[in-house]
Symmetry: C5
Subunit: 363 residues, 5 copies
């Protein structure tokens, strides 16, 4: 039974998990996630219309680029638990302590900060994992002039499609600035939300099937686990809509005017996802209602069986009891056909009862 429940641990913080941060100054770069031990890796993809280079970076010093190189620089930084390296790298790009803190703060909810010379975006990468589960990973993106810094906790990501499009010169991405890359990354993340929505819809459908076809007491655990998952998704996805809306309306030359229609396209998708999440919540309520009604139905059926059995046989037993009494003067006992007559009366009573229950629709 345990395995079917989704531990509350995934939804709420572990006790005193944040204690390392208590009493610390703001801007303390402290990792709160569960992905310790991931190696710190930085890779750089540099591209313009004409050329593209991809290379892993060994040393932090290598981050400084030759000013002659025209185009977009996409730094992909993995392994956020290595807070010192993250701090060194971030400072070399002029990020503030508060931004650095939020980059490694895996509890930070999705948001956008509009800073002097860069935009800072936090968002959750959610994608399906093993059977009927999904991964939720913290992603922080910094948009600088000509440069995007993408911070992830783990190796795996959902951006392979973006890389492919850059490599293959397919699409408009190679002709565009860094803001379009930011869009492409957000788009890749939001596209995955659809996959998650569909997975979720499937789960609900299967659960509905079970609730209708073979309801049992364990289903309440599954329904409540589903409800929790929907709440969890909502928590991580709902702020994204607001964030994208802010990006669309921001007054900042980092976001070019012709990138905004693309951001509006993401906003459309966020609206659709929001619709779905609302729908799923309603459905989890419906599942509970159906479940509770099924329970009542079953109880009704149990009670009907009991009532039918008892109502038929208790009166008969009483009659048998009458003629089991030992009174000396009971004339019936000595009648020749008393026994079959009593049996006949009993049969009649059963028939009457059955008709009554049939009429009541209990049979």
């Amino acid at each position: 039974m345990k395995s079917k429940r989704r531990s509350i641990n995934n939804l709420i913080s572990r006790p005193f998990q944040k204690q390392p941060k208590i009493g610390k100054a703001p801007g303390s770069v402290i990792y709160l996630g569960k992905r310790r031990g991931e190696k710190f890796r930085v890779s750089l993809m540099h591209y313009n219309e004409a050329e593209i280079t991809e290379e892993p970076l060994e040393k932090v010093e290598a981050f400084v680029l030759s000013p002659t190189s025209r185009g977009v620089n996409w730094f992909n930084i993995k392994g956020l638990s290595n807070t010192e390296e993250v701090e060194t790298l971030g400072k070399s790009f002029g990020l503030s302590a508060l931004t650095l803190e939020d980059i490694v703060n895996t509890d930070q909810r999705p948001k956008m900060d509009h800073l002097d010379d860069h935009l800072f975006v936090v968002v959750k990468m959610i994608y399906p994992g093993d059977v009927n589960q999904f991964h939720i990973e913290h992603v922080a993106i910094v948009l600088l002039r000509d440069t995007v810094l993408l911070f992830q906790e783990v190796e795996e990501d959902v951006f392979e499609g973006v890389r492919e499009r850059i490599r293959s010169s397919y699409g408009r991405i190679r002709n565009r600035k860094a803001d379009y890359l930011l869009f492409a990354l957000l788009d890749a993340i939001v596209d995955q939300y659809f996959i998650v929505m569909e997975l979720m819809g499937n789960k609900i459908e299967q659960l509905e099937e079970k609730v209708y076809e073979k309801p049992n007491a364990d289903l309440i655990h599954e329904i409540q686990a589903l409800k929790k998952e929907v709440l969890e998704l909502r928590k991580h996805i709902r702020p994204v809509k607001e964030l994208v809306n802010q990006l669309i309306h921001i007054e900042n030359s980092l976001i070019a005017e012709d990138t905004r229609p693309f951001l509006r396209d993401i906003l459309d998708h966020c609206n659709e996802i929001q619709d779905n999440i609302d729908l799923y919540r309603e459905m989890s309520v419906s599942l509970m209602e159906i479940y509770m009604s099924n329970m009542s139905n079953k109880m009704n059926e149990v009670m009907k069986v009991l009532t039918i059995m008892a109502s038929i046989f208790i009166p008969l037993t009483f009659i048998a009891g009458i003629y089991g009494m030992n009174f000396q003067y009971m004339p019936e006992l000595h009648e020749r056909y008393a026994y079959p007559m009593v049996l006949g009366v009993m049969a009649l009573m059963v028939i009457v009862m059955l008709i009554y229950f049939k009429r009541k629709d209990w049979l």
Copy 2:
């Protein structure tokens, strides 16, 4: 039982249905709907106060019109699964890749995009089909100067009335610009929503009748299916109100000042439909409440029958049991009138019981 349930599939996306789009660049024109195989057909209706021409267009090249022809051009494009043709046609009218993507994206929720030289509207055409079902079809409308492009998935549509009015010179439509045609198309779609509302109201009424008159355990399935349908309608209709409101307040010469009162008329209708949908939701909650209360009532009745039967006959059986005991010294057994007296006492007990239950209103 299965047939009575509305499959969740109609409400939520099929698993991994959107996978073809994952990793693709935005603006990828990919059809997601279920209407593959519909032929691609374009027809043009050209009209002004004086004249009207209607013709199917064989070749895409034919779309370019002679500049001398004054009046409104209504292109009706059917068969969205033919994405290549849609793309060619759209590009010849200068539509952007993002717009083209949303034209064929049957999952796109209703919305309005305000672009440089055209307005783009997505809306759902909902109309009654076979018994107690309704069709939901994706419709995209582009309003250009003097031209309306109407994209549908299927042949069937709800615009025959609009065509008739154009043909018969009835009404003001022939004297007006393309913005009035956009209004007339939206009006035809919203008018159908009233038909759907009335169908839905009928369904609720029938269900209410059943819940009151002959409640049974299967009704919960029908009630929940109804609730889902209401949610589905709300999902597709609610955004239309916002969309129409945007059209009314847009600052764009494509929408003439004297068309806005007509759009406000649609807004009135949207408000009325919204009222109805809210009402239907409340009623589906009421139906559940009545159903659950009926279940309780039935249980109460079952229990009453059991209690009455048991309360009357168990004590009688006990008395019979007393005189069935085989003690050697039981003086009553040998009394001449003991047997009828015991029977009399039993009858008395039954009468007392019946009066008690009558008083309790259990009979």
Copy 3:
């Protein structure tokens, strides 16, 4: 049972009732209500500080007034099903097709339209009819310079008090312009809402009495019918508040500055009515809760009776059964005082049981 239910038909549109409008151009003047056959009647009340004339108008041509006549003209038009006459009359006052359509559209929700040279108001006249029912009638009011057009479906109305005040020169109405007449008409309508609220409150009070004093399974029908009536009233009354608010803030010389305090007085009343409707909804929820709890209570009582009877007599019957066995070697059977002793033990068991149930508060 049927008579106690409020048919859903009153709340939602009849199936395909609107079909006559489908495909028609906007501005088609089509009557949707149920008051066909009412005669078309127009009467004119003309007044200023000095004089007053009241006359039924036979011919539509008579509508044109001599320009020398100073004062307010109140046209009272009855019998909206006569759409042709309504159209002729309306056009003679310069009303647009859209306004004419809404005048006879009895489904139009309350609203205010601000047009070039007139204001158009739709509102519902709700007043008590026969026992515990109320009528809901569609009313359309047009405010022109010096002229008010009042359209009703039926003869009966709630404006007799306004007419009396005009006739008797009582109050300020004779010294004021047409905007004050518009106010007086709205005020008369909203005053009736209070009567309806009080009727409704009475109904709730009676129902509460029933739920507490003699609950039975039919009450759920009455509670749900009440809930529907509250929803119905809310649907028609809620938009009025918004409408009055628009009238107060409109920038239009048709509404004089010193009429606005009077409109604010109506707004106060709308707020109070809104409070009441919210309260009534809460109370209908409370009634359901009480009803459901009463059902549970009754079930509890039934079960207690069953349990007490069964728990007392089943063990006694068992003991009687023991001594009814026919074993050859049962020494007790032959004891002189075995029978009274067994009866004593049985009595003791009954007493113990009764004390136990008393302690449990089941008796």
Copy 4:
């Protein structure tokens, strides 16, 4: 039982109570309250930093003050059912008919009107009365230059503290203008709301105690009566917050700039009271949940007793029945130790049953 229910009459208007107003012109000064027969009394408190005079006013003519008298005039008018006197007095201060109407309209919800040369405030005075009840009285306040008119229905009020502070020269009130007196009166009223909140909190606490310790079916009446009281308080208190907020932001020289911080202090209190009312609503929902769960628990216990008794004794009775059969060939009947063996088997069955029920935690 009746006495425990709070009659709905206190919450909603009496049937046709407002009928006297129907058809009357707006501004008709008609008393709707229940305090008829209270004598009309006016007293004047006149004060400035230097001096203070307090006198009952016998004649309405005496209201006109000598223009030389510098300071604040507080007229305290009691006995609103004397509408003629109220009207005469009000008109001598230049109040409009609409204001006069609302002064005696005891159904008027709390509000603020901003008129040409005065501010008009309606608010409800709520204070504890006899055991566990509270009084709700209508209060109207008019703020003129240097003058405050305070209208009440009854003699009793909550302003003795304010009078004391004026008399004793304690505090800043003697050095301030009429706007500060308005504040002081509102503050006195809102302070009483805290007393009412605490009384209410106590009631909830006592009810919670009862629901936990000795639940019975009557408690539902008390819980629902509590819920109604909370709704009633909310209805009268919620608009006060809005009203005070309007007073703070009004642009009118009647409210001095340095009085606004004091009004903001009242706003703080209104926020706190709002928090409490919300909390109390949640708690009344909680009480219902606990009550319903207790009912279920009790039912469970009843059923357990029944099931245990029946499950133990029905099988035993069956065994006794077996050996009570009269077959000629039943070898066991003649065994020497058959009887004690059967009794042993029965005892064993009881033990097995008891262990089973113990394991199920039913004992």
Copy 5:
């Protein structure tokens, strides 16, 4: 049982607790809390980049600082029940009577007042105490030019980390003005809210475990107590978000431009906490649903046992009763194998019943 319930006293005011304030002028400095008897203590921490002094202040006169001392002065005032001393101190800093009143008013909800030359903030310090409980303490902060006054009821506080950072010159606090100290204090308080959230999450997790694994009737008390705690936290934490938002947008030179990003960081945290509180509320609803469903399940199981036992043995007992009748002419009684045959029939009936119940999934 009592110990498991959280007394409502902690949530709502004690009866007539506020009575001392009734009738008093606004600005009366009256202590309402429960921490009477705490000694009045003032300590001063004075610091700039170069130096730091910390000293307890014996006399109130010592508060006046030498004007030459450059840097930030943090006065930490403890023991709010000493209202006279608080008043003297406050007045020496020019605080208004209304501010002084709110400083000692422990019922004041969190808020920010923007006054002429200072900002006034009220907030609740919430931190974990003994097992599974948390303390809620009233804190008032006044921000003046170069000076912060921090008022607490008790000795214990959550600011040790801030003091450490000042003492150790760690972080940027020593180089900053008083506004940064205000931020640091608020940050310390909000950081503690995370600890409280985690504690709460743990409680919910434990309760969920109990509800699933060993549900019993007492759990409803724990669930409802949890719900109350969540409501209590929400009451104290929700206004903080609004307060911080006001601080961010205030136009006042007391808050430097470069402190606002830090306040925004607190806002992020408030948002996250708000998310958690919402989640916890949903979970307490879920717990109730699971609990109620478990109750139903148990009832179902009890009823099944009863029904199975009764349905099997009542018919058998009837058959035994038949052959226990004393009719003279019952041929079966004399058959040689009648007894074993009857026993066989009975066994068959049991088997049929068991198969039936197995099929119904009741076994």
